[in-house]
């Protein structure tokens, strides 16, 4: 069944870039359209809006049309997979062989990966089309894309506001219909928070569900790759393509992957939905609270049973995260020394070259995090900070283990507020960190979570509902997300740019 999106950009003929993966799949497989025609509409639209939104760092138009030829042939040969001929944008921290991969950092401004990340290799096997590489906060460190070394992406719903981050380019590209779907990465909320702020669907799978081979490492015990899409069905299709064990990533889980699309459309009657009281805090945006509370009522109307739960260590999550993530980052980013790839500054000796390269190549937030992590790991402080952080992480994980004894999923707001103004939080790093307060615990516990549109503020800014599941139970969160989506129309709204 094809549900055509409400089209309020222009209003006349429906353009192919406005469709979803499943809608395009039917049209492509019925030979009503060709992959090249989808690309014509994608790039036509990019030409019209990209100057305003700035979702992309690199637009791979030539590569895309080459890929479209292969996809077209595969469809003619009846060899199409779910993603054959589907234009997808990829966050610019995933290696694409022969295609510039910058991490939005000056230090990698000229890096051409000699290998392909597993995620994009799997998308390639399915015959996807790469539209381009999207903008992010430098090395995925941030919540607004304002930390990009190149430019700030704008929220398609209000160009004066941020799209969220760090996968802000991917979320904005989906919301602005500059691609059909996108790939992001999520270390503390970097898929879900921008999806929420841009009014699209963002899924962070369980830690270990998707291989990180070829994802430029930020905080290895937290990083996970996932899809950003226009609806829940597309998220399931994308997850099917990228999930599964990979011998090249020893942290990827050697367990079976179900067909996630089969979870969609199942009854949610009798499922227990945990509402953690710690996530409805004083001072949170009124519109956000109202929307999330009425979303819970909707789920109740479908037979789900709300249960109050407690995640008592929620208030410690941001502090824990900023010890662990920065410590891991300080180690992971030691490799940028101007020797093997990327930018090199000159220096009078090797050490001077290292230090000049790093000082000129990294932006302020990256330097701040490297310093914080170096401090937390330095002699005399390791037990007080890093070990302490790991112990509190255990408590946070236990909170989820305990809650999931009583409920099937946990439902919360994705973000305490809607999209904020560009520049509003750049001077105070701690304020910026606190915008991830509802997403960070999920990464610390390693559980999967999805953000789906659940309303709009009085200023017409999107609000996201976060549904959190048990380890490796993406099916339950997809099932509930889909059930909610079917009886609401938030996901059909598009911004007029």
């Amino acid at each position: 069944m094809i549900e055509l999106p409400v089209n309020d950009i222009g209003g006349d003929t429906l353009k192919l870039n406005e469709l979803t993966i499943s809608e395009l799949r039917r049209l492509l497989d019925n030979r009503e359209i060709k992959p090249r025609e989808v690309l014509d509409d994608i790039y036509g639209h990019i030409d019209a809006v990209e100057d305003k939104v700035k979702s992309y760092i690199t637009i791979t138009k030539d590569v895309a049309y080459e890929m479209a030829k292969d996809a077209g042939q595969a469809i003619l040969d009846n060899k199409a997979s779910q993603l054959t001929g589907i234009p997808v944008a990829v966050k610019d921290n995933m290696c694409t062989k022969g295609i510039l991969t910058t991490c939005a950092s000056k230090i990698l401004h000229n890096f051409i990966p000699p290998y392909e990340s597993t995620v994009t290799a799997r998308l390639k096997e399915q015959g996807y089309i790469l539209t381009g590489k999207t903008n992010l906060d430098e090395f995925a460190m941030g919540s607004s894309t304002e930390n990009s070394g190149f430019h700030t992406t704008r929220n398609p719903w209000d160009l004066e506001r941020v799209p969220g981050g760090s996968s802000g380019g991917s979320a904005a590209a989906v919301a602005a219909q500059e691609c059909i779907a996108a790939i992001g990465s999520d270390t503390g909320g970097s898929i879900r928070q921008p999806a929420s702020l841009c009014g699209v669907v963002g899924l962070k799978p369980t830690y270990g569900r998707v291989s990180r081979y070829g994802l430029v490492a930020f905080a290895s015990s937290l990083d996970q790759i996932g899809p950003i899409t226009k609806n829940v069905t597309d998220a399931a299709i994308m997850l099917n393509a990228i999930a599964g064990h990979d011998p090249k990533d020893s942290t990827s889980a050697p367990i079976d992957v179900p067909d996630f699309a089969k979870a969609l459309g199942q009854e949610i009657k009798g499922l227990k939905i945990g509402i953690p009281k710690e996530y409805f805090i004083e001072g949170m945006d009124e519109d956000v609270e109202d929307s999330v509370r009425s979303a819970i009522k909707k789920l109740e109307s479908l037979g789900a049973i709300p249960v109050e739960v407690s995640l008592p260590h929620t208030g410690y999550a941001v502090a824990t995260y900023y010890i662990l993530a920065t410590s891991e980052a300080s180690s992971n980013l030691a490799r940028y020394d101007g020797v093997k790839y990327g930018f090199r500054a000159s220096g009078k000796d090797l050490l001077d070259m290292y230090m000049n390269t790093r000082s000129q190549g990294f932006g302020a937030e990256v330097k701040r995090r490297i310093m914080l992590g170096t401090y937390a790991l330095s002699a005399g402080y390791y037990d007080a900070y890093y070990k302490k952080g790991q112990q509190v992480r255990t408590l946070i994980k236990q909170d989820f283990d305990n809650a999931f004894k009583d409920v099937d999923v946990i439902v919360t707001p994705t973000s305490p507020g809607a999209a904020f103004k560009i520049g509003e939080k750049t001077t105070d790093p701690l304020q910026m960190y606190l915008s991830d307060i509802f997403t960070i615990s999920v990464n610390l516990a390693g559980v999967p979570a999805i953000s789906i549109p659940c309303g709009f503020t009085k200023n017409n800014l999107p609000i996201g509902l976060q549904i959190i599941g048990k380890h490796f139970d993406e099916e339950s969160i997809l099932k509930i997300a889909y059930a909610y989506e079917r009886i609401t129309e938030w996901h059909l709204r598009r911004p007029s740019i």
Partner: protein, 95 residues
């Protein structure tokens, strides 16, 4: 706990970063407020709590010892800022 300019200079050195005088002042201020915020963890008693380094149960990952492909040297070296023959070139280390 507030950190001092001197500590910030020391951490910068460990991090292999040069900081301008202005950056030292800003980072001292910002890192101090982040560290003060982080110290709320001290209010939790974690004496008997095992630290978590990995959230999914996973044992050492072994594989059979076999030869497999490696990256093409030329395409790897293409990314290097300075190359001589088949090697990376760096400023002199030993006098």
């Amino acid at each position: 706990m507030r950190i001092t300019n001197k500590e910030v200079k020391h951490i910068a050195k460990l991090s292999r970063l040069y900081l301008s005088d202005e950056e030292i002042i800003t980072f001292t201020e910002q890192l101090s407020s982040i560290i003060e915020y982080v110290e709320q963890l001290n209010s939790l008693d974690t004496g008997n709590i095992e630290p978590t380094s990995h959230v999914i149960p996973l044992k050492n990952v072994m594989r059979d010892d076999f030869l497999s492909g490696s990256l093409d040297r030329e395409s790897v070296l293409q990314n290097a800022p300075d190359v001589t023959d088949k090697f990376y070139r760096v400023p002199k280390i030993i006098e």
